[in-house]
């Protein structure tokens, strides 16, 4: 299948630290990719380069055949690449519903609808429904209906995470980058939350890249895994193969296990 996103020879360094060193990846349409690697391996730098927050020192990124390397984040969002955040970025003083309405407003504005002279309730592109109905529907789909009128700043962590992802879906992105969608969520809830996210997102045929530290989650939801280490991609394969790769075992999965051992052997205070 044709690649929707193509990263070629990306380099990025911050002073003496190399965050990306010759990153190459072709991401196929309609696929689900898991990005794994220890902290500082370059996963978030990769996401930040795709979304325009960081410009690579070298290399190009093509999306649907178009060079997007130099575009600003909002322009990249407008053409269909959206992201969620490791720490949810919400409008804290507004309710969940109002958060959704802000996002939908931006979509309407970018489509040239709902301006000062517009009459009636304009339909949201891609949904064919008025803004309020789209907001309700997305809240429903992400299991957030009961939090509709609660302020974002008082919502529990997992709910904030879901709202953060629901916000990215208002524009019906073609590619969605999820930065640690289950971090800060209890182990028991992880699968349920990932199930809900994937169902909601895949219903729109969105291509998904997600950063995840839990290898069980990765092997269950990813079709393909990109393993990062020291700014490089050390494995690019289906989960079963990637997670058994000796380098991945040593640098990524092994690291995680080692940390787990350390945590367990640490005397409890």
């Amino acid at each position: 299948m044709a690649a929707i996103l193509h990263a070629q020879g990306l380099y990025k360094s911050f002073g003496a630290v190399t965050a990306a060193s010759d990153i190459n990846a072709a991401i196929e349409k309609d696929s689900v990719l898991g990005l794994i690697g220890t902290n500082g391996a370059g996963k978030t730098t990769f996401i930040n380069m795709i979304t325009g927050y960081l410009k690579p020192d070298r290399g190009r990124i093509h999306y649907e055949g178009r060079d997007i390397t130099e575009l600003a984040p909002r322009d990249i969002t407008r053409i269909g690449i959206c992201r969620s955040f490791q720490i949810p970025q919400l409008y804290a003083s507004l309710t969940a519903f109002e958060n959704m309405m802000i996002g939908i407003g931006v979509v309407l504005q970018n489509a040239g609808r709902g301006g000062f002279f517009a009459r009636g309730r304009p339909h949201v592109p891609g949904y064919g429904l008025p803004a309020e109905d789209v907001a309700e529907r997305l809240l429903e789909r992400f299991g957030l209906a009961e939090y509709r009128d609660k302020n974002a700043q008082v919502l529990p962590g997992g709910v904030r995470k879901l709202l953060d992802i629901a916000l990215t879906m208002v524009a019906k992105p073609k590619i969605l980058l999820l930065d640690e969608p289950t971090s800060g969520v209890s182990a028991e809830e992880k699968f349920a939350i990932m199930d809900m996210i994937m169902k909601a997102v895949r219903a729109e045929g969105t291509t998904v890249l997600f950063v995840e530290h839990d290898m069980e989650v990765v092997s269950r939801f990813a079709e393909r895994v990109l393993a990062f280490y020291d700014g490089r991609i050390i494995a690019d394969a289906p989960p079963a193969q990637a997670l058994n790769d000796p380098e991945v075992k040593r640098f990524v999965v092994g690291g995680a296990l080692q940390r787990l051992d350390e945590a367990q052997s640490r005397p409890r205070a």
């Binding site: 507004l94 407003g105 504005q109």
Partner: protein
Amino acid sequence: MSAERTPRTLALTLVAILAAGLFAPQWTLFLLTIALAKGLVVLGLMLLLRCGLVSFGQALYYCIGAYAAGMLGRSTGVSDLLTLMLAGMVAAALVAVVLGFLLARYRSIFFGLLSLAISMILYGLLVKTEALGSSDGFNVLPSTLFGVRPADDWVRYAVLALAAVVTFVAALAVHRYLGTPLGRLAPAIKDNEIRVEYMGASARYAIHVKYVIAAALAGLGGALAATTVGHIDPEMAYWTTSGEFIFITILAGTGSVLAPFLGALIFGIIHTVAFDLSPNTWQMVLGAALLVVIVFLPNGVWSLFRRRGAS
């Protein structure tokens, strides 16, 4: 007070002003007209404040509007009130379009102090410009309405009536703007600008637009004040004038497009009464009033009109 009822309330307020003006004493008409002029400036400040931006220099556009109206009258003999007000509005908006490219890059204290600095530059320039009367300013010609000079007894009412209609249109337009996606972006910019950008909107553009609207309203108010008072001077750009607008903004609250006008009216009344009672210490009364509002009504006087539990 819900947002859907605002247009109706605005219309009722307009009718009330037009009716009450027929019977009220002359000095109250003057007070009310000035309240409308200042309310227009504060309406613009409210737009910026909703984005989390406080302009310490909104007097810049108040002064530009006043001088544009005064200079147009002086140089071309135009005396039509509506034309002068529109001239003040356009002049202020044009300056804001240019300055907005600079100001929209800044946030918080930097935005505030930069706007203050620019208004003080204008003050400095006007004080040194002899052709415009230096620090004395100059008198504005008596205005006419659609080519007619109303009888002396009716001048104040005629000016008030036109001012009320223009203000009504401006407030209605701002109310409608606040309902558009671009207008609704204000609290989002205040809360989380990064997210705004990652949703595909430009916070800088949104702020630039609001900045120009705010300037246009201030220019409109300045021109109205100039023609009502009949005199303009560089004090209109001085920082204390900007301070007065912020004072009214805090007094009023940002809950509705009606709030600025209520705030400006209350300010005018306190000012007049306090000045009457104690000409030397009237500022103390104003200060005490603000203190009371901040302590007991942190969201401004307007919060009294909100249904309990609504917010």
